[in-house]
Symmetry: C2
Subunit: 330 residues, 2 copies
Amino acid sequence: MIEVAIGIDIGGTNTKFGIVEESGSMLTQGSIKTDSQKGPKDFLARLNQAICEHLDRLEGEILIKGIGIGAPNANCHRGTIEHPANLPWEGVTPIVEMFQEYFPYRMIITNDANAAAVGEMMFGGAKGMRDFILITLGTGLGSGIVANGQPINGHGGLAGEMGHTLIKPGGRLCGCGSRGCLETYCSATGILRTVFELQADTLEPSALRSVSWEELSAQKIFEEAQKGDPIALKAFELTGAYLGEGLASAVAYFNPEAIFLWGGLTKAGKLIFEPTRRHMEAHLMKVYKGKVKLVPSKLQDINIAVLGAAAMIWKEVKEERVQGLGLGVS
Amino acid sequence: MIEVAIGIDIGGTNTKFGIVEESGSMLTQGSIKTDSQKGPKDFLARLNQAICEHLDRLEGEILIKGIGIGAPNANCHRGTIEHPANLPWEGVTPIVEMFQEYFPYRMIITNDANAAAVGEMMFGGAKGMRDFILITLGTGLGSGIVANGQPINGHGGLAGEMGHTLIKPGGRLCGCGSRGCLETYCSATGILRTVFELQADTLEPSALRSVSWEELSAQKIFEEAQKGDPIALKAFELTGAYLGEGLASAVAYFNPEAIFLWGGLTKAGKLIFEPTRRHMEAHLMKVYKGKVKLVPSKLQDINIAVLGAAAMIWKEVKEERVQGLGLGVS
């Protein structure tokens, strides 16, 4: 008999899922179009069908230990998705209750970055760590924070929005309505905005001056930086400066053992890690200096949100096993 | 038989202690001069003597359940005080190990603001809360953060330094060596600096213009603000603006149920709470707006650090009792 957990990552365009063993090995994975405008009921029926097809193709007897879901604006306490920005589902959708009509199993929902952090803790570079931060650098900046061995969900289940902490008072307008949020500087979109600001502010020649806003990508900026393009290089330096400052404040709050960076931007390697580390260290209090690891996620080329969603189930199963043995959760 | 916990708050000038029952009632309290230049050994001998004198005066049989210590730069994992800024003890002092020669009991050490947060949770306004922040506004700004029902200590035991998160890049010089730390704006010293900045920047008449730096205090600023002094009023408004901005970022990290403010500055009541709440709400993401309580600590006129240090012992005792009954810690 094969024991598995199902991990699901609900995104604005696609919803991905995977069937994961306790070792972290992903037996199979798939995806469907979220097509959210048809409503959550239609979505869940199609998701159920896709998952069942994958389960049917597995050999041997399968025991499902539970289903973990990562989703935007997920409220882990209530099992709901609430006022999501990138799904047209109005108000509060009781997603866990609705999905349990298909799968009457243990079900956990949380935001995608929190799920990713649990993935890093169970299967990645944070194994054995009790205090760390995982930052996902994508279109925006997501964060999953683990303290005392537990992800921080907060009272309303909506903690870990480091992308919306203030890094520059009165700074760039953010999708959330505020100005100066960290993710307007430190994300794939943020570095793009920085390139355009540098083109406006300086007279430096740059290959990027022939690229439009719509054509430009973080990948393109990385390629030009590797060729020594001055604006591309400066953009990475500035991104690292803002991120380093933001991380220094996060260290003052959490005193983590390590900070993991995940996502496309981290593929720039030294170009992003070196300035980020340098500016973080420059802003750290003396007691923290040189003591916080800043490293890439070890789940870089894996769908970390799907794996992390499944990891939440395995984490609970493991804790219950330890409690059952009367050892207490360490 | 009376069961008690001893709470100790080690400060730069004075060290205070109290003997506290599980109900939170403080049976007796005392203090000694820290006189730290004579070294930790001399200090602990005098502290032991003072505590024993107080214990001897209590009637009935006393059972000591443990000793909680709040101290600057305390490392809760190692039981040490490390490189403290306001004590001349060099390097790392193994304070728990040294003090256990006198008191061979359960002993917990943590930083004073973390201890205060546990006090608020056990005996104050945070009873029953699992996610909240306590901020102490004194000479500096201290913070104790509770998530998932546990104080966040961090990997090195030095978490919760919200006073040293960055609020204004390139701003005021901080005692920690950085610039723009939150506590350089939001503390008794911070509001004093703001008054001097306003005197320099504006031509407003003010009764405070006849007061020197050394004579000025937060209390004096409060008194003038009550009389309608424009610079004093503006100083409270600005202090609230910075604190509100800082709290909005803290909410994005932690999504707390409540934020408690403690300390002299909070005695200004509406003068500090109103602008802080207004600026916090203005900077909150939509999902958090109107949902975070901002209230004064309920342990305002008590030595919260002493009570909180004792509360750490009672918290552990209570958790063990629950675990002993096989109920798990909720």
